[in-house]
Amino acid sequence: MSIIREHTQTTLSDAWRTIDIDALDPDSAPNFDTSTLHPPQPEITEAEVRQLTTQVRQLLRGGDAEGALRGCLDMPVYNGSDGVKEMAMGLVVEVLQSIKASEMVPVLRGVGEGVGGGERVDVLMKYLYKGMAAASSSSGASSAPRTPTRVTPQQTGFSQMGPRPGASAESTGAAMSVLLSWHEKAVEVAGLGCIGRVMTDWRKV
């Protein structure tokens, strides 16, 4: 008891509680590169994405939308430069836009079948979330010169919330509606677990 009484008011303050002790520990999470915990993903170059783009466009011209989507999702860009990732994202959106609303569910079911089918739908979901994030961030800065993914309006059954000022806002709204309707169908086919995996997964597209 006597020791406690000898403490002055300053030593009894709570200031010590705010010291970030993790900064002093060399093994703590902030001082540790978490990316070393996971096996590295193979790097995908621009040439590979270009090659994929020509193949996918060929399939699209041939009317094989399912094969085109399958091709995109079999080669997710987990490790690549930002430019390559944007190219891959743009390609996925291009394929998604070319598929009619009535064909969404059959295409999704087809893509989800076979070896690694579940994985493909998970990858699609990752692209959808990335697309939605990009669309909302570009609508926040409408004067930004670079729009990451150019999406043109398409009839999807989603009604717009009335006219909005500014053409760019309108186009991002349309982009969002494409992605949202795909999101709805993907959840229908692959369940809520699919969304959980997008949020958990360390491999980002």
Partner: protein
Amino acid sequence: MAAPEVHHLFHNPIADHSFSADHSTLAIARDTTVELYGRAGSAFKLQDELKGHDKTVTSIDIAPNSGRIVSCSQDRNALVWEPTPQGYKPTLVLLRINRAATFVRWSPSETKFAVGSGDRLIAVCYFEPENDWWVSKHLKKPIRSTVTTLAWHPNSVLLAAGSTDAHARVFSSFIKGVDPRPDPTAWGERLPFNTVCGEYMNNSAGWVHSVAFSPSGDALAFAAHDSSITVVYPSAPDQPPRAVVSVNTQLLPFMSLIWNGEAEIIAAGYDCEAFRFRGSVDGWELSSAVAAKGREGHGDQREESALNMFKQMDLKGKVKDDTQLKTVHQNTVTMIRPYEHSNGVVRKFSSSGVDGRIVIWTV
């Protein structure tokens, strides 16, 4: 299948529960206390409150033979409660950790227990009679994040741990003088303390919620936050495993899983109900839910009168009350444990949830 036995104890979350071997006592981790319930007829009645922690109690375990209770808490302490004729006597265990203790389990031999913590380590504790003292030794490398769950191998030496760094690991917790030399297994032959016998993760690397050894100890299953369960079959020491089977489900993530024999796993979690997985080294798949869903108004009898109907319409603008889930648990299931089992085959298991319910299920 018999209807599940539902006990709605209170309206607080239950972090962990444990039955004594004769099923007469039920220990519950509720806030900062450990509550002991005794069976009175078909219900459970509060008998004793063990107060010793000053932060949330995170995990609790009753040793089946000795009847000792071990509890751990966010106050970074573990307490061993010794049953005496005057009631339970607590002994503080020095864990030497500076983050919350998250999970505790007795080894099958009951001479040791392991405590997982947010300090990126596991404290393996054993009793030293010379000093009349529980001593802890740390399993530290190569854990990179909070240990969320632990499971013991039947030989009481191997310990599986799941962590938020997305790895499930198998360690040796061999302590000289406490453990007899273990027989060699597929996990390892010579097992000094802190041998890492295996490190596993699944493709999407979700953090691990639950781990469990199969009854023989020759397979390890873990549930991760990517709504998957993964089963690992080791081949030989220092060799890559024979098979690692991952099942991604369409459901929400599982918080807890147990083995039922070598070919079935029961898992429950955020979907508020338990599911069966069946399989072998060649592959696993989700087979079915343990209980059939859709019995309306389960547990609570609702008044079905005209007066009640108009009252509902007046108050809520609708006739039907759809605030109830169709599952027995009305919120996330936090823990499932075998209740009645023999030779690794589970006949009944118990589950606890965030809704304050304890349910005993017939498999």
